[in-house]
Symmetry: C2
Subunit: 258 residues, 2 copies
């Protein structure tokens, strides 16, 4: 069965979408079958892979037990990478799902029948900057959580909240198998003291949970989304592309069961 | 009475907290009495002004009608700047407030009696990266919304959502006086094409709603929070301090009634 990973961090702007889009694209380039699911009403991952946003084209209905996932899946410009788009109305699902039965399990129950029918190697879920209902649903369905961490002080503050949350999800039995799959340092600028301090502090706490690959700050990564392209097609040889390819290889060393 | 402004943008990591902390500090430096309210469970603004986070030290109880605001208010290291801290349990208020009567007006009703007793010139509310219950409460109480906008493509995508939201809040009668007070360009790097494209696009749409002062990308701004200081005490002459002082003067030209 596919390995499901949620790219999540309640701190905003740390590179969740950039990591979800580019790690997924690099895994597909290495021959894996990948499905990227945009679970953020901002729908940045949707435009990041060049898909349009349309009202009704999100997991909203599927989370409430209506509609099916298969009809939402679209190909992207990358061979082996499919995506489920999002749009702003998905925000309304937070309230509706909160009031439904088994409200933490709606996402898992929506995608399970689909995953039983279609063979993917990896399911990547891009989460919004919060620990609300949508993120909690992703973490309840995921095998692992990938945590992008901007090498900045404010981003460091939220780290303890995340560890406690994973502990809680495991212990309450909603998803006993959830693990912190890895921490990805993003927007790393080796010239600044603050970046080095954050790396030292996080590696001290989390040891080998921290991916060795650091994603450098690279303006090409922030330009690519305006062309609806992952970095490997926008600028295949830039520092951002090199880093995400290295991250994908490191990721497969940890998770590839084949 | 005090002018209440909410610093808000559902896009994450655009400089909401950095703007709330530093604009408030610069307004106080210009002789204004300012109260900074941290309405984000991440509590970054709390540590940004050097306050500690303690369980129970947030507006959680006051939003549910228990407890008072005055006991939460603390002085900061800046003369004229007080702050109401936050902490992670405030996240639980989203669900409790959603189920309460007049759930959009809880924040306004909590702070009104306090503001009638204590004279402030400006109330600055730092919002989380979402359009959930806490942010909606801030916008229902606010006279104006200040929108920090990172000069990046993904940040641009969310802008139309914000305008529609303000329109809705005004028309539904929850806060007919709410206006978009201004858009602040943040992390501006004049050397990149994307920054210039975003500025042109936003100025084209929003005209003089866009503050002339642009906040440059400046590493000192990201270092200051690790010392619990606003930029004007951490490094008074750096580009970040110069920019936020200019923003404070521009802000007073728009709002100062005295
Ligand atoms: N390594 C990098 N170098 C330069 N820019 C980057 C890098 N990673 C991300 N960015 C840019 O920084 C901004 C924030 O990144 P992104 O939107 O991926 O973060 P996020 O965590 O998904 O944000 P949100 O919390 O809003 O979901 C974006 O404009 C993105 O293009
Ligand atoms: N002009 C700037 N130059 C350099 N770094 C900046 C600047 N403004 C903010 N930062 C840094 O960028 C990161 C994001 O800023 P900040 O946390 O203020 O954004 P936010 O919108 O409040 O995030 P969230 O959505 O999580 O609340 C922080 O680490 C901050 O220190
Ligand atoms: Mg994102
Ligand atoms: Mg913030």
């Amino acid at each position: 069965p596919a390995h499901i990973f949620a790219v999540s961090n309640q701190k905003g702007g740390v590179g969740k979408t950039t990591t979800a889009v580019n790690l997924s694209a690099c895994l597909a380039e290495l021959g894996k079958k990948v499905l990227l699911i945009d679970l953020d009403p901002q729908a940045n991952a949707t435009s990041g892979v060049g898909l349009d946003k349309h009202a009704g084209q999100s997991l909203y209905d599927a989370l409430l037990g209506n509609g099916d996932v298969a009809s939402l899946v679209q190909p992207t410009g990358i061979k082996g990478l499919h995506a489920v788009p999002s749009e702003v109305d998905l925000a309304g699902a937070e309230i509706d799902v909160a009031r439904a039965d088994r409200y933490l399990h709606r996402f898992r129950e929506a995608i399970s029948p689909f995953l039983a029918e279609y063979a993917y190697d990896y399911i990547c879920v891009d989460c919004p900057p919060s620990l609300g209902i949508l993120t909690m649903n992703a973490l309840t369905a995921a095998d692992s959580m990938i945590l992008p961490l901007q090498t900045e002080y404010y981003a460091l503050e939220g780290l303890s909240v995340v560890s406690r949350l994973i502990q809680k999800i495991r212990e309450q039995g909603d998803n006993p198998g959830l693990e912190l799959g890895g921490i990805v340092m993003t927007m790393y600028d080796a010239r600044t003291n603050i970046a080095q301090q954050v790396v030292d502090e996080v590696t001290g706490h989390f040891g080998d949970k921290v991916f060795e690959t650091k994603i450098p700050r690279n303006v090409r990564l922030s330009e690519a989304p305006s062309y609806g392209q992952p970095i490997i097609t926008y600028d295949s040889n830039c520092a951002g592309a090199v880093a995400y390819r290295a991250l994908a290889r490191e990721f497969l060393e940890r998770y590839d069961r084949t």
